[in-house]
Symmetry: C2
Subunit: 396 residues, 2 copies
Amino acid sequence: MDFAETRAQFYIPEHIVYLDGNSLGPLPIAAERRVAALLREEWGAQLIAGWNDAGWMQQPARLGERIGTLIGAPPGTVTVGETLSIRIYQALAAALDRVPDRKVVLSDTGNFPSDLYMAKTYLQRFDQDAELRLVAPQEVEAALDESVAVLMLTQVDYRSGRLHDMAHLTRAAHACGALTLWDLAHSAGALPVALAAAGADFAAGCTYKYLNGGPGAPAFIYVAPAHIDAVQPVLSGWLGHRAPFAFDPDYRPGAGIERMRVGTPPVIAMAALEAALDVFDGVDMNDIRDASMALAEYFIDEVQRRCPQLILASPRDPALRGSQVSFAFDQGYAAMQALIERGVIGDFRAPDIMRFGFAPLYINRQDLTRALDILEEVIRDELWDNPAYKVRRAVT
Amino acid sequence: MDFAETRAQFYIPEHIVYLDGNSLGPLPIAAERRVAALLREEWGAQLIAGWNDAGWMQQPARLGERIGTLIGAPPGTVTVGETLSIRIYQALAAALDRVPDRKVVLSDTGNFPSDLYMAKTYLQRFDQDAELRLVAPQEVEAALDESVAVLMLTQVDYRSGRLHDMAHLTRAAHACGALTLWDLAHSAGALPVALAAAGADFAAGCTYKYLNGGPGAPAFIYVAPAHIDAVQPVLSGWLGHRAPFAFDPDYRPGAGIERMRVGTPPVIAMAALEAALDVFDGVDMNDIRDASMALAEYFIDEVQRRCPQLILASPRDPALRGSQVSFAFDQGYAAMQALIERGVIGDFRAPDIMRFGFAPLYINRQDLTRALDILEEVIRDELWDNPAYKVRRAVT
């Protein structure tokens, strides 16, 4: 597949090589038109009628279907809205309800901190005998035993890019009677995800990374058909009610995945996300994966050849990595600032990790050649050794 | 105060009289420019750097300050993001933690259903001895006793427009050792709210009604300074952490109101909200209140004179009403559809309530005269007696 066509659908400032789509995807040009139309033609012209006439109320389901096709989820199993931390909380509570006789949530030390914070607080409040058990990523399978209620993992590690084998670990979890909850923040839109085929029970993800939905774009949640009808939502907001506009004094969960809705959907943000998902139309996630692996292989090989000071902090085997590559470098923070100043945008994660994401929808090999030339210069000439680059910014 | 200047800042389609700002405020024209700039100049051009350089990360606090000035909240007590149902859940959990020896959440039957759903589920899961006790709105004060931990009320009833006396009920709650949680969905931007002066403990609200932030605009939460440092957030998301980008494995609550943040803020929606709040610059909430009461008085008087079939379902005393007026009419649903078809947009709430909201920022007396002429015609000529108007829409 030739990605020149998808690349043309993004606005990337001149002289920028953007290798941080694993943190925030770039602007799909069509989002500008789509959001402007939402503002003037829908909100402006239709006012309150937009909820019916412009289909705002069905947007979470409609976008859920479209995300579903990218993550191997059947129709009616994904809804969009709220934030990822909220989605993790909902999914974890639902998963625990399904295994009431067990007390352990198993996760790994590479999981995203917010997932761990949400889980720990939930357990502390809900069941003081319950426990969040953390092991190293490579110890997860061995740590599965009959005490485990839920295996909660982020498929692709936000720091190292390490990729868990979803199908294998889900089978292992099921074999000992546990359910799985997958955070797809760094996998949705980056690689083929096969939730249903893997037998995953619950999943959640954000849409502002590889799905390019925009800063703070809404999250999504997946619940397998085997579970959804039994879920009593922990966050029983009105839009998850079976008939929200009946204003029933008692909560009755909505049909299927609709019950995982909580509050009023973020309509403006949904419009941007819709335009972002259009870019994926006709694109095969396997092609994205192949291209991203090729880009990453080239980048790793060249970095190892040109900048041996940078130590690969991601798995060397592309099959064990997501779509991002990390290098440890003790001057990583300042070096990343030097790169950014020269138009090569990656990011940094403490203590010493330089991250580079490879999104073939808008990044090609020529971009990487340019980035590598600049990286080589920064490292070779110690251009990172500039006091201005060492002042820490709030978000890196 | 002359509101011609604020009126000019909104896009209202020609031939429309918009009396549904209590459900969704209209488009502030500047939001189009502001959102377009956010997309192209911030997200597009700055990419990930927008979190620092465009101030996205501080947006929840910055907009919180601005909303705070409209609701009598001191600096550092309001933050913006998530949805109102989520904010109610957070605030209720925090309030209950502060009164651990009591088991009752007192609310009224006029409270918005989502608040009741969120509260009931929280209590069921986290403390099965706890109880959500509902009384009629006028019985609230008498129902306050030493079993009550939290008095949770919506200040302005979404159906009747009845206005609770926040200062009085807060004093009464405190006198028996209870805390208060106020939902300001129908009061923020509609009338002067004095949270700090009233001694309110917790509050939350949405920004898509009288604040005109757009469909699904983010919610806000207020925590009184006396409580905030003791709050252990029930939804301990990463952006409420003291140092989110330290990626600490353990959650440590952020400073002050920052700890009530949960997930990544909805940056695009925040841009629209920011433009909407600009309209309030230099406007005194007392002037809005005076003008809205004058509009409502005129409307009620004329409806009673011209359409005696419509029975006032709001308090007759303007001091006891928010900014909306409701009438009961057995053909209310169809009559509202007939009005909407003729350009007079109010809404309907089951079983028989026709609602009209009065927002002087963009509605004046001439608008109401036009609306009244059309209403009179619809009722007099039974224009509502049209089968097409009786087909229920999902959202009315």
